[in-house]
């Protein structure tokens, strides 16, 4: 117990940003899970006049339909996080599989899979998402699936590079020499050693998916029956929160998205950096560029 506390303390000292982000993410996730218990009001019942300003009873006022904004936000976090995590899982399955296959087998398989990955990197993600969502029709399931199927490229790249170096390690080669099949080698030796990287990329993808979901919801492509954070921003726009000067309906959902995205980014990057200290501190989308940069200290100042 004591040792555990010590470890947590040293982690906070070493990576304050990541610890802060992790803590925040944990709190938000807990609040989202406990929404039915925590939310002070039902999120879809009128409890007062529309766009009532914040008061002691309703900390962030009421929405355009007279719903309590705090309760709406809590329930919306639930939907957004659900979309984020499920989409990230789909994407890590796709990206992980492609990355591992490309890195492990190399040769022609690598060539083809890398070309496919490059193609998806170049195609602008949001427009493609919009087209797919528009054609498929809005439902939570479709959104999760299309987000997952389009946000895997970064993971695939990073994991491919890792597996490529793993493949040359002695224990992997020995496993092959001793007659271990490809499947055995992959699941016994390659996957366990890429697991932390998979986790890091999943967390990074959660933030990307939540971010992209707000965009889809804003364009009316979200599930109309599920109120996500993106839907709340759309409601604020569609129903005139700006002209009604109802800042309490507009500001909180956007800030909450930023907090979730930022926390997840900080945590994901910290894990990735811990695994690969040479990687620079760049935000998640920049990983798309696949370039490793060396960060160096400033030369000592003499001025």
């Amino acid at each position: 117990m004591k040792r555990g506390l010590q470890r947590v303390r040293s982690l906070i000292a070493e990576r304050p940003g990541a610890a802060f982000g992790g803590g925040l993410l944990l709190v938000i996730t807990l609040v989202a899970i406990l929404a039915p218990v925590i939310a002070p009001y039902p999120p879809d019942q009128q409890v007062g006049p529309i766009y009532q300003a914040p008061s002691s009873g309703h900390w962030l006022g009421l929405s355009d339909e007279g719903f309590d904004v705090v309760s709406q936000l809590i329930w919306a976090c639930r939907v957004s996080l659900l979309v984020g995590f499920c989409a990230a899982l789909v994407s890590i399955v796709v990206g992980g599989t492609i990355g591992i296959l490309a890195g492990y087998f190399g040769g022609a398989i690598d060539l083809v899979l890398t070309a496919i990955t490059d193609y998806f990197i170049v195609i602008p993600a949001l427009p493609l998402l919009i087209v797919v969502a528009a054609v498929w029709g809005p439902s939570l399931f479709h959104i999760i699936l299309s987000l997952g199927l389009l946000l895997w490229t970064t993971s695939a790249r990073v994991i491919r590079a890792q597996v490529k170096s793993l493949r040359e390690r002695t224990y992997v080669r020995r496993s092959r020499t001793l007659g271990g099949g490809h499947l055995h080698t992959i699941f016994r030796h390659v996957v366990p050693h890429t697991a932390p990287l998979l986790v890091a990329n999943t967390i990074l993808t959660v933030s990307a998916a939540i971010f992209a979901e707000t965009a889809l919801a804003f364009l009316g492509l979200g599930d109309p029956s599920q109120t996500s954070l993106g839907k709340l921003i759309e409601d604020a726009y569609e129903r005139g929160a700006t002209t009604q000067r109802a800042w309490w309906a507009l500001l909180p959902p956007g800030i909450l998205v930023a907090v979730i995205v930022l926390s997840a980014t900080l945590v994901g990057l910290a894990i990735e950096e811990a695994l690969n200290p040479r990687r620079s501190h760049v935000p998640f989308q920049l990983h798309l560029f696949g370039r490793r940069r060396r960060t160096t200290e400033l030369p000592p100042s003499t001025a």
Partner: protein, 320 residues
């Protein structure tokens, strides 16, 4: 020699990508639930014969490969079909939209670059100082804010002082050239700012890491030993050498700009390509959506290619 090969390979990849985009564009819309004419044949008095007639007219009664052939043939002739929403040629709609989007994106990119340069150099300078953490966090936060939300907040703040939507004041009668340009700029300033704010973080981080890399080089130490001032060191020696990665990565950001443009143009009802896409989505105008998506994809691929070739031109080592 390797340089020529690299250039040829990049151009080849761009062409393959465009072809793949054309195929994807065809397939995605064929996979749509219901046929594209199901909405049309719902009008009162429509019979199976009428439905058949519509199918035939749209070429949908032919086999998939034949349809694909038709589609590619039309594409090569620049025929993108007719918009369902306004009955105009999709290509004509897109041309107007493109000419509107171009200045907006250019302005936003310039703003984002300027902001990114200043902030990135500032962040590099703050390295290992007490301000580094808060500085990084601020940039990361703006970067994490939804683009449409930034636009809405700008709208909220500047609603009275600046035009909140559209591209020009319709009540200007016979404006002089300068009035017209000023009017356009006034309409562009809010969407461009929103777009710039949402993407400058990427530039700032690229500039920062490029700067840090250059600052660690030996020639920087030499320059410092020569007794040059910090400012001169930073701008003349470090920044000029850090520009290469900035240029080569700039066009890669075009992808995220294209996404941001859709959202920003929706917020400010700015009649560009982004707005064409979002309104095609809400009116289920598939020909328009298909055309706009294809155009956007080709533009992104094109700018990627330009950046790639520019990077080779600036630094032949890139081909390695």
């Amino acid at each position: 020699m390797t340089r020529t090969r690299h250039v040829v390979r990049r151009i080849g990849f761009a062409l393959v990508t465009v072809v793949a985009a054309v195929v994807a564009n065809f397939l995605i819309f064929r996979a749509a639930p219901g046929s594209p004419i199901s909405a049309l044949s719902l009008r009162p008095g429509s019979s199976p014969a009428y439905r058949q007639h519509l199918l035939h007219q749209a070429g949908l009664d032919r086999s998939l490969p034949q349809q694909f052939g038709d589609y590619v043939g039309n594409l090569l002739h620049g025929r993108l079909g007719v918009s369902i929403a306004n009955q105009q040629l999709v290509s004509a709609n897109l041309k107007t939209a493109f000419l509107n989007t171009l200045p907006l994106v250019a302005l936003a990119t310039v703003m984002a670059l300027a902001l990114g340069l200043v902030v990135g150099v500032g962040l590099a300078w703050m390295r290992s100082s007490r301000l580094e953490g808060p500085g990084l966090l601020t940039v990361l936060t703006t970067y994490s804010l939804p683009t449409q939300w930034i636009g809405l907040v700008l709208l909220f703040v500047f609603a009275g002082t600046l035009p909140s939507g559209g591209i020009s004041d319709e009540f200007l009668v016979d404006p002089s050239f300068f009035t017209a340009v000023g009017d356009r700029l006034q309409h562009m300033i809010l969407p461009a700012t929103a777009l710039a704010l949402s993407i400058f973080g990427q530039y700032a981080f690229i500039v920062r890491s490029a700067m840090l890399e250059v600052l660690g080089e030996d020639f920087m130490l030499t320059a410092r030993a020569k007794g040059l001032s910090s400012m001169r060191l930073l701008t003349r020696h470090a920044l000029s050498n850090a520009l290469l990665p900035i240029v080569s990565l700039t066009a890669l950001i075009v992808g995220s700009i294209s996404g941001g443009t859709i959202l920003v143009e929706a917020v400010f009802s700015y009649p560009g390509i982004g707005r064409a896409i979002s309104s095609a989505v809400s009116s289920r105008d598939y020909p328009m959506l298909q055309g706009a998506f294809l155009m956007l994809t080709i533009l992104v691929v094109f700018f990627n290619l330009v950046a790639d070739l520019l990077a080779v031109k600036l630094d032949p080592r890139v081909t390695e």
